[in-house]
């Protein structure tokens, strides 16, 4: 994802999903869900539910007192010798990174996986300024070579086969590689090792920001996160203001929930805690540390109490894995780096319903996401609120749905709410459809309803429920 999207057409995107995507998605999600379930079982469901509730309460407490904890985090980072910057929007955040890069005459930037930097389109901005920027998470590295964004927030390149990756490495890196995961990983290690050592600037996100000590927490498996925050002379962390947690005691709960929910690990391989730059030269590590606190619409999410819990997400990806819609279309259809149910509620508020009003409808409202969410976000309730915002508007935004849809919805409400009109309408429909019905199905409908029948027949309208009920009661 190189640029910030201005309009998302989920329907059109989902029609362009490659045929092999659903199978690849389902293979991955089934594996993650299986690993997760085994660990939850080992822990015991009672304990797991206790942890979920505590995770929810702790995160919501932090969000409900966000100004207090942000100020505390800022004080602590500054005290530790780090530089704190505030960015109102994507443009401001990009400018701050570019300024830091400029001060250090940076030519090469290495990045560890960060959804916040995807959100602000950082790579594109750096490249436009003539700075080379490399994604270093293996999956992100692969999709970057391919010129794409992440298809999943935890495993960005899971939809590509090892043959495709071998071909990509041949084409872009000029190396002949056998199509084996092990060999391909070693090639990426070798290539990126040189880049880590040569990089002028390391950019990371942050899974959490601990207010108590101003500590940036990153959770990774590959070690690239450690590389980006240790090897280059300057470290810049771009962290959303909603990532704050009060203290280390709260962090214990969230770490237990995160790794289990994301990849089915008790703890991820490397969990890193960074409070400012190193205090002594002997410690090794970057000489300078910058924290960019990114708003970019997050403060707006807080305005609607019904939607506020959007902000407590810990980005584990479990709701993507369980979602029947995500499992059929994969990440790209959402047109945003954060996909799935949590992406749908986040993106439609960050971008606004004019740009992303399609996303709240990209759900069956089955509620599996609510049940699996480790911090108990009521995702479907928020989706419903956002659907309401799209169609009728609310105190925050005007309606975004086309006039015809709004009129249609209102007409439907009148028809279904008025007994005589409903009965009259059903009789009329039954007569009108008669010439087109063959064995209970209609093969073609007149425009504009033919959009349905281009791909499948439409069931004939039976319309005799009242009659059927009367007969049945006799």
């Amino acid at each position: 994802m190189s640029q910030v999207p201005t309009s998302i057409d989920f329907r059109a995107n989902s029609q362009q999903v490659p045929p092999k995507m659903p199978a690849a998605v389902q293979k991955a999600t089934a594996k993650f869900l299986g690993n997760r379930a085994a660990l939850v079982e080992a822990l015991g469901n009672d304990l797991w539910q206790t942890l979920r509730q505590a995770g929810h309460d702790l995160r919501l407490h932090a969000i409900n007192h966000l100004d207090h904890y942000l100020e505390q985090a800022e004080r602590q980072v500054t005290k530790a010798g780090g530089h704190v910057h505030w960015a109102r929007d994507a443009e401001e955040a990009r400018r701050i990174v570019l300024e830091i890069a400029g001060q250090h005459r940076a030519k090469l930037v290495v990045k560890s996986k960060s959804m916040a930097t995807e959100e602000i389109g950082l790579n594109h901005a750096l490249e436009s300024a003539g700075i080379r920027v490399l994604e270093t998470d293996l999956g992100e590295y692969i999709v970057q070579l391919k010129g794409m964004g992440p298809a999943h927030i935890v495993v960005p390149a899971f939809h590509l086969s090892k043959e495709e990756i071998a071909e990509l490495f041949h084409e872009k890196l000029g190396v002949d590689a056998p199509a084996e995961a092990e060999k391909l990983t070693q090639i990426a290690r070798m290539k990126l090792r040189e880049e880590f050592l040569a990089a002028d600037l390391g950019v990371s996100g942050g899974n959490f920001l601990v207010a108590e000590t101003g500590t940036i927490v990153t959770v990774t498996n590959e070690g690239n996160g450690r590389m980006c925050c240790t090897v280059p002379p300057v470290h810049v962390a771009v962290v959303g203001i909603d990532k704050v947690v009060p203290d280390w005691e709260s962090l214990t709960v969230l770490l237990k929930l995160l790794a289990r929910s994301a990849t089915g690990q008790k703890l991820s391989c490397y969990t890193q805690f960074i409070s400012g730059p190193p205090q002594t030269r002997e410690e090794t590590g970057p000489q300078e540390m910058h924290l960019i606190l990114l708003d970019n619409g997050r403060s707006r999410i807080l305005q609607t109490p019904e939607c506020r819990e959007t902000s407590i997400c810990i980005r584990c990806g479990a709701c993507l894995n369980i979602c029947p819609v995500y499992n059929h279309v994969g990440g790209y259809a959402y047109g945003y780096p954060i996909s799935g149910p949590t992406g749908a509620i986040f993106a439609s508020q960050i971008l606004g319903v004019k740009a992303a009003g399609a996303l709240p409808f990209a759900s069956t409202l089955c509620g599996a996401c609510n049940d699996i969410c480790p911090v108990k976000i009521p995702i479907t309730e928020i989706l419903l609120h956002l659907r309401h915002r799209v169609v009728e508007g609310d105190e925050l935004e005007g309606a975004a749905a086309p006039y015809a849809l709004r009129m249609g919805a209102q007409a439907g409400a009148v028809a279904f709410g008025t007994t005589w009109l409903y009965r009259f309408g059903s009789q009329v429909l039954k007569r009108l459809q008669a010439p087109f019905v063959r064995e209970g199905w209609m093969a073609k409908l007149p425009a504009p309803l033919d959009r349905w029948t281009t791909s499948r027949p439409f069931p004939a309208f039976a319309a005799d429920f009242r009659q059927w009920w009367r007969r049945r009661s006799r």
Binding site: A28, T50, L58, H65, L66, D67, H68, L70, A80, W86, E92, D137, L138, G139, A157, F158, S161, K162, A181, E182, L184, R189, F196, L197, T213, N221, E222, G223, N224, M227, T230, V231, I241, P246, W248, E249, S250, L251, T252, V253, L255, K256, T263, K266, L267, S268, C269, T271, Q272, F273, I274, Q279, R281, E282, E283, T284, G285, L293, S299, R300
Partner: protein
Amino acid sequence: MNSAREEILGKVREALGRRPGTAVPSVPPSARVGPRKAGDPEAEIAQLLAEIGKLSGATRRLGSQDDLRVALADLVKAEAVTKATLWTTPDLAAWDVAGTLRTLGVELVSPQADKHLVAACELGVTGVDAALPETGTLLLRSAADRPRVVSLLPRVHLAIFPPRALQVDLHQAFADAKDAGYSVLVTGPSRTADIELTLTLGVHGPKALYAWVMNEP
């Protein structure tokens, strides 16, 4: 810059209906379970090493200085170590890890040397500041005698620590670690499943993790 700060904090306060400096209620309980009770020390060590083993780490329980010498000789041979870098903590000094490596013909590189030189080491030796048996996790703090790059850049990471490093859980480990400027939890060697979900060890961090519990120096 400041205006951005004021504007963001202002918007947050307005959305939450809070005034600057308003008191914050205490943090909700953290579902602290237990506290977990540590069992018999040797059983705890066995559990720790078993968990690290499950994550493809190589583990040993060592007693005497001779055990350590033999184990180091094995490792140097198995991993074809020619250059190593290490922490300068009192434990590693008391066990004379540096001296032993030198007698095994290994060249020692200062962790503060140029990063290319450190990255060329096959082996980095550290202690740990805490070890958690439940998850097979090692906690490494950063300090002048504990440089960060030692456990990161070399191909093999060896952690040697005494039984007293074992702690019951994250709560206890964090109580000490939270005031460190930098620390990292290491749970097994570097890994990825980014290519077709095939588990592969050694992406960017060390390819191999050795964890040895050694009796007090």
